[in-house]
Structures are given as structure tokens and as C-alpha cells.
Subunit: 218 residues, 2 copies
């Protein structure tokens, strides 16, 4: 029985302007099956925008990332500013456009993107403490900006996104949806999930492997 | 390999004013693992209200049930009015307060509640065609109103809610979170999920059993 403490960072609620809900749920499910103690966090900032998920249309309203993220985990999400690596054994970040729109500007600025300072600080803190970091779907694109050049990671097989990771100093490695890429030196584990998945059961396989390896290395 | 066609009815996005996200995700995961073809539906109506899931406070805004439900399933949700039992082998309804606030008025009117007419019509249609119906968490409370007296079902062990089911003409049967209640005569399968669950892995066990039995009876 493991009782590892794991921080999970969310970035809203819904794939197109926040956290990918299935990826977050599958992450939390596997962590719970491994008897981990989990705390979710999200930045207390406004979303970049709000999209109608059926039509893709911009909705004329504003929503808070932390408030919306709380919908996923039944209300139990803390402000990202309160997160401290000292309190945890590992960190996991599910994907969704929220990572590229709210936790960073990657969706708009690509290789010139900026990363949310609180988020960057937290990832660096886990890295400095040699604690494992799992990143899912589009999230690995931020690794070179946060940890500097030389981190191996995957977003699957999308050549354009992979090229941007390499351009920023990362080492992209192609990977199928049911697998993970492990950078043992940096203790970074990544999986493509919905960068490649065509159905939820596919995403579940890779995410479960990622969670298992993150806990194994913690 | 099964290729059963299953309709899933959502009622928003978030446990306190819509669909319980984990319950919906776990339902869709298990259906996909069983190779089912799934279509999600939600009513094109305004939510009863919008709650801040961290604080429980009422938020001064309005949201559409169908638009918000689309966040869960990556945009792929159709209007409930388009749902027809002729096109499907089975029906499943995850829980969350959306069932008691948007699909009905049970949260406010209890045993005097009214059920959304489109939703009631769809459930009755599946019942008339002798196709299995799975209801999760708080959703079974609506069965007596929709199908009339005599349906056996569970919401777990909550005496007050169980009493209301019996008062409306249902036959409540106590059930643990990792189990299901099967009414073979009515082809109705129910499980408590977050009416009893204290963690996501508990909800997953009961929901997986429910989905397996729904597909088995279809």
C-alpha cells in the first residue's frame, strides 16, 4: 500500500479552454487506485477565453481558472500559489488547451511562449528536489521553457508540435498513445493521451502507465 | 467484441449544478472499453443556477445545460430532443445535482418534483422497447415519477432519500458503493456512486458493474 502525496495542476474545465476532463479524471482515478493522497491546484487567474465546446465559438464571458477547475474535482482545488513541492512526492499535469492558453501562451506564441510564473516555479521546485514530474498530452511542450534544454519528452507523433519542442531545446521522442517516454535523468514522464487518442480507453492506457511510473520513481 | 449503441444523458458539467464529472467519465470509459458506440445528449435549456464549486456560492450568471455538458465529452453532445430509443440498445444517466436541478426539480420539490418532459419521454421510450436503463447516484430518484410505481432501485443507504423514493412509489433497496441493484422486470440497473463513494476508485467499481450489466441485458 502506497501513500504517496501527489500534486495535480489543473488549468480550467474543458478541453478547448481548460483542462481535458477525461485526462484529469483518468489521472485522479489511477492515483486513487494506487492509494495516493492527491491535492489539485489551479492558478487563480482569468481564463484566456471561454469557448462553446459544441461549436468552437468564442463566448462573451469571463471565467476564473481556479473556479472552473473546481468543477472537475468536486470543489477540492487549491490556489496554485499555495502549492509547495516540500509537501508532495510527485507532480502531474493533465493536458487540454488550458495548458497552452492559461498556464502558458503556447497556443498563441508557439516557441516564443511565456509560462505562468507560479506554474514554472512549482515545476522547477519539484525538479530541484528530484521528485518525478508527469506531463500529459500538450503539457510536455512547456518543459524546455521551464527546465531548460535537454529534457526528453513526447507529445505523440504530431510533427509540427514535436518540431517546436526541439526548437525550444527539448528532445522530442515519438510515442504511441498507449505508451510513455521516461527521462530518468530529469525524472520527467510524458504520454500523448488526446494528442493521439481517438477514444477514451486509449488515453486511459497511457495515462495509467504514466501514473504508475511517476509513483514508482517517487 | 460488442458494438452496442448506448445513449448517455448529461445534465451540465460539475457535481453541484450539473453532471458529476467523474461519474460521467467512468461511465464513458467503461462503455468504450466494451467497444460500445456512445452518443451523449443533454437538454437545450438553461441550468437552474450556477454554483461556485469551491465555495458553494451562487454565481450571478446563466449557463446552458447542453453547452456546458459538451465540455465533458470534448464537444460531442447532441440536444436531448434529438434522442430516440429506436437508435440505441441502452440508456445510461450519470448523477450529479444536475439530475435533481436541471432534469427535474427533485432538489427543490422532493416527492412533488416534476421531471423534464423530453427526459421523461426518452426514458419511457427505452422502457417500452424493453431496453435496459442504467441510473447512477441520485438519478434513480426519478424512476417512480417516470416509470410509475414498483421499480426497484438504489441510491445507497441515505434514509431520507430512500424514503422519498418509496413515498413516490419506488422500491428502494440498500446497496454499497461497489455494487448494483438490478430490477430485471423493468430492466433498470442502479448504483450509488457518489451518494456513497468517498473516493473515485470506489465509484469506479460500482459504475463499471452497472455498465457491464446494462450491456449484458441489451
Amino acid at each position: 500500500m502506497q501513500n504517496k502525496k501527489v500534486a495535480v495542476v489543473l488549468s480550467g474545465c474543458g478541453v478547448f479552454d481548460g483542462t481535458e476532463i477525461f485526462e484529469a479524471t483518468l489521472t485522479l482515478l489511477r492515483l486513487d487506485q494506487l492509494n495516493c493522497n492527491v491535492q489539485c491546484f489551479a492558478p487563480d487567474i482569468m481564463q484566456h477565453h471561454v469557448l462553446d465546446h459544441r461549436t468552437g465559438d468564442l463566448m462573451p464571458e469571463q471565467r476564473n481558472v481556479l473556479t472552473e477547475a473546481a468543477r472537475i474535482n468536486r470543489g477540492n482545488v487549491h490556489a496554485l500559489a499555495e502549492a509547495n513541492a516540500n509537501d508532495f512526492d510527485a507532480l502531474i499535469i493533465p493536458g487540454g488547451f488550458g495548458v497552452a492558453k492559461n498556464l502558458s501562451t503556447f497556443a498563441f506564441s508557439g516557441t516564443d511562449c511565456e509560462v505562468n510564473a507560479e506554474f514554472s516555479r512549482l515545476v522547477q521546485q519539484f525538479h530541484q528536489q528530484k521528485k518525478p514530474i508527469g506531463m500529459i498530452c500538450i503539457a510536455p511542450t512547456l518543459l524546455p521553457k521551464i527546465l531548460g534544454p535537454g529534457v526528453s519528452c513526447t507529445i505523440g507523433h504530431d510533427a509540427a508540435t514535436a518540431g517546436k519542442i526541439d526548437e525550444m531545446g527539448g528532445l522530442h521522442i515519438g510515442c504511441d498513445v498507449d505508451n510513455i517516454v521516461i527521462d530518468y535523468e530529469h525524472k520527467v514522464i510524458t504520454t500523448p493521451a488526446y494528442m493521439e487518442a481517438t477514444r477514451i480507453s486509449e488515453a486511459a492506457v497511457g495515462i495509467s502507465k504514466l501514473v504508475d511510473k511517476v509513483i514508482d520513481l517517487s
